[in-house]
Structures are given as structure tokens and as C-alpha cells.
């Protein structure tokens, strides 16, 4: 969708209509992204998304002039989540519950448990690393696009992603059998500090 294609200058009513159209079309994706960025805390994700969309609404005409507004709003969302994380970073990390035996491949319940474990492990990462993983694997952006969204270098994206994945490996471990080159087995269910 490209709201900006409607023209460079849009009136107030057009802007309101185009904003509603954008929210209708993108809110599900953005809300899931907010959920992932906030560590699946639904209330905080709603608050984050509402705040970001309200700010976007204020400058909607300007945002639309640059073409597709979604990357811009996505960037606002990431920045807001990092800001929020900075405010809350004194909060201590919560240990993951003991996972018991590792999930067996092909078992649907185990698969769900594995996803849950991964997402909870994701929530324990620093906001910057979490944002990199969300942009790379949820929004399916390339390293260059992720770097552009986060306003950092491609090298920084690579290193952040590498550190984040290494930490996830430690926390969540392999799903079925050892991962080649990982060198890390399944954890004991508690967060390990590097």
C-alpha cells in the first residue's frame, strides 16, 4: 500500500481518511510487532502502538509525502520500544520456568512450547537486539533495511543479530538435535548471563 501515491499534498479530510485506511490495513502487523518488541505484554503493546499511531496521525501528511508510511511508522515503533525499554531496564530479568525434557520433533504440543520458550527468551533480550531480530525475522527485512530502520550500520546489525541469536541458543537450545556449529546444548531452564 502506498498512501503517498495519492498525491504530494493532501487535505485534512483526505489525511484522516488515508490514516484510517492505513490503520485498517497495517494494525495487525504493527500490533504483532509491538507485542514482540514488548516481550508479549499485551497491555504495553497496545499502549505503545496507540502512542506511536497517535504521533503518526499528528504528522500524517508529512509522513505520506515520503511514500509508503509503513516503514516510517515501523521505525517509530522500534524507537518507542527502545525508549520504553530504557525506562524499564532496571527491572530484573525473570527466570524462565524449567522446561524439563526437550521438545521432540514433530510433536505439535512441543512445537508450541518451543515457540513459547523462544518468544520468552526473545523478551529477555535487550531492546536493541530484540528490535534487530523482529525486523529481520518478523518483518523480513534485509540487513541493510534493518540498519536503515534502526539508524545504524549494517555491521552493527550483523553483530547485534549474532549476539542475540547466540543468547537465544543458550536460553532456548536446539529444537531437535544439536544445531551445527552452535556448540551449546539446551539450558537448564534458567536465564544465563553472559
Amino acid at each position: 500500500m502506498s498512501v503517498g501515491d495519492q498525491g504530494d499534498v493532501i487535505g485534512a479530510e483526505d489525511a484522516a481518511a488515508s490514516f484510517e485506511y492505513f490503520v485498517d490495513g497495517s494494525s495487525a502487523r504493527l500490533f504483532t510487532m509491538a507485542l514482540l518488541l514488548t516481550g508479549r505484554q499485551r497491555v504495553e503493546a497496545e499502549d505503545l502502538l496507540q502512542g506511536v499511531l497517535e504521533r503518526a496521525y499528528r504528522r500524517w501528511r508529512r509522513i505520506c509525502q515520503n511514500g509508503d508510511p509503513e516503514p516510517y511508522v515501523r521505525q517509530m515503533l522500534v524507537n518507542a520500544s527502545v525508549d520504553r525499554w530504557r525506562l524499564l531496564r532496571r527491572r530484573p530479568e525473570e527466570p524462565l520456568p524449567a522446561a524439563g525434557a526437550g521438545p521432540a520433533a514433530g510433536d505439535q504440543a512441543s512445537e508450541i512450547a518451543d515457540r513459547d520458550l523462544l518468544l520468552r527468551a526473545l523478551a529477555l533480550l535487550p531492546a536493541g537486539q530484540r528490535a534487530v531480530l523482529v525486523l529481520r525475522y518478523f518483518n523480513d527485512l534485509s540487513e541493510a533495511q534493518t540498519a536503515a530502520t534502526l539508524g545504524c550500520s549494517v555491521g552493527s546489525v550483523k553483530s547485534q543479530a549474532s549476539r542475540a541469536l547466540a543468547r537465544l541458543r543458550v536460553i532456548a537450545g536446539p529444537a531437535a538435535g544439536p544445531e551445527p556449529g552452535s556448540g551449546a546444548g539446551r539450558g537448564d531452564g534458567a536465564v544465563r548471563h553472559e
Binding site: E20, V23, S27, A28, R29, L30, F31, T32, L35, L36, R40, R42, E46, L49, Q50, G51, L53, E54, Y57, R58, D114, R115, D116, L118, L119, L122, L133, V134, Y137, F138, S142, L165, L168, R169, A172, P174, A175, E179, P180, S182
Partner: protein, 260 residues
């Protein structure tokens, strides 16, 4: 070109996609509510800012106008005295009222026609009071209104000239003492002046008659400080040795700020 995903990356991607949820119902309404709240907050901040400016500008503008009208602040000795620009929040910048017996021919030059706009009470001249209206002669018709209800104490300062050879005693009427006092020596640090810092009476002793004329003629110059409840009118008796009856003047401080 994309690298091949590792197992962990594949699992992570699948987990993220599986985590997709529907947005909360009424998202658009919530955004509109937030936006209205934001508009209200910004509006309130603007109103507060405008109110603050409206309160601050008249006294400052008046002080500046007074400065221009008198050809700027007197040079020379005035360099050691801050200009009479005042506000109740910064009384430390107000100049000192001279001590009662000091003889000072001049603290700087006024416009040559300064007497035209000034109010005369015997040998005492309230400079530009006629033009600005911050002091007027008391009329015989009724007493001046009392303290303005809810008026805040305001510090004011004016230039007063006393003819050579005279000694004038300014006494605040008893009824006005709860809301008007003179300030003798602005030594209150940075805090606001409370009424108790002021004086009920002040003596201005001009230089002897034989003293050479100063910049403004045969007069001694004084900065006269006072504190008054804004919006009030205070009767003051001006007594000199030669006059049989005191001259009564009314000091005022209008709602838009004290005149200086």
C-alpha cells in the same frame, strides 16, 4: 542475496509469525481519544504560556518605556545602581532607596522638561507621575479605595526629586500600612519582599541651598522604592518644615503592574 537460515532462525521466524494477533478492538477510537487529549494538553500549555507572557510583559514594557522616556537610565552614579526595571519575582535588581540624610545632587540626567510631566508636592517632585499616573494628589472628595482584594504585593520604584534646602518626610497613612510601605535599602537577597520589610515613614533630605546644581537643576535625586498590593491606592502625607499642612498624595499600583 539471503544466507541460508539456521535452524534457530527458522524456529524463531516461525514463532514470531505464529505470535500474530489481531489488534485490539477500537484502536482508531483510542488513537482519536489520545489525539484529543494531546490537543487539550497543548492548548492548556499555550494558554498558560500566553497568560505568563501577559503577566510579565506590561511591567517590563513599562519599565522599558520609562527608560526611553527619560533618555535611558542616568549615567554616572547610576552605573553603581541597577536600573529601576522591576518585577516582584526579581526584587534583587531593584535599586536602593537612598538613606535619609544623604546629599546627592544628581544620580543622572533626566530629560530637560522633566518637571512638565512630574507631580509636585511642595518641594518634592514625583518624576513623570503626572504623565504616568502612579502618584496623584489626594482629592478632598472621599477617601481612596482600600487594599485591592486578592492583590499581590508588588515592588515598585520611582524617581523623586527634592528641591535643595528642603527635608521632606513621607508618611504612610495608618489605614494604608497593611498594604503599602516604603523600601529603604533593597537588601533582601533574592527572595521577594514581604510587607514587613518596608517602612511607614521615610525622610528625604536634599542638599543645602548653596550646593552647585546637578544635572537636573537644584534638586537632589532619589530612587524611591515601595511595596504595594497591586490594584490598591495608598495615601501618603508629604511634610516639609516650611509647609503648615502636609500635602497628601495617593500612590497607586494598577492591575497591570506597578508604574515605575
Amino acid at each position: 542475496m539471503r544466507c541460508v537460515m539456521s535452524d534457530l532462525e527458522r524456529r524463531l521466524r516461525a514463532a514470531m509469525i505464529a505470535a500474530a494477533e489481531q489488534p485490539p478492538a477500537g484502536l482508531m477510537q483510542a488513537i482519536r481519544r489520545r489525539h484529543r487529549r494531546h490537543i487539550r494538553r497543548v492548548g492548556a500549555a499555550c494558554v498558560a504560556a500566553v497568560a505568563a507572557v501577559a503577566i510579565a510583559v506590561p511591567p517590563v514594557a513599562h519599565a522599558l518605556r520609562a527608560g526611553h522616556a527619560t533618555g535611558g537610565q542616568p549615567a554616572g552614579p547610576a552605573a553603581t545602581r541597577p536600573a529601576p526595571a522591576l518585577s516582584s519575582s526579581a526584587p534583587a535588581a531593584v535599586p536602593t532607596t537612598p538613606s535619609a540624610d544623604a546629599c546627592q545632587p544628581s544620580v543622572g540626567q533626566l530629560a530637560s522638561n522633566w518637571r512638565d510631566g512630574s507631580l509636585r508636592a511642595g518641594p518634592v517632585w514625583f518624576v513623570y507621575a503626572r504623565r504616568e499616573g502612579y502618584v496623584r494628589l489626594a482629592s478632598s472628595a472621599g477617601a481612596p479605595p482600600g487594599p485591592h482584594r486578592g492583590g499581590k504585593p508588588e515592588v515598585g520604584v520611582m524617581i523623586v526629586e527634592v528641591d535643595y534646602g528642603f527635608r521632606a518626610v513621607l508618611t504612610v497613612a495608618a489605614s494604608a500600612r497593611p498594604y503599602f510601605r516604603f523600601l529603604d535599602g533593597f537588601t533582601n537577597g533574592s527572595g521577594p519582599y514581604p510587607l514587613r520589610d518596608g517602612l511607614d515613614s521615610l525622610t528625604l533630605a536634599a542638599c543645602p541651598r548653596g550646593t552647585p546644581p546637578g544635572d537636573n537643576g537644584r534638586v537632589s535625586d532619589y530612587y524611591l522604592g515601595f511595596i504595594i498590593k497591586r490594584g490598591s491606592e495608598a495615601p501618603v502625607a508629604v511634610r516639609t518644615a516650611t509647609a503648615a499642612r502636609p500635602v497628601r498624595v495617593i500612590f497607586t499600583c494598577r492591575r497591570r503592574g506597578c508604574n515605575t
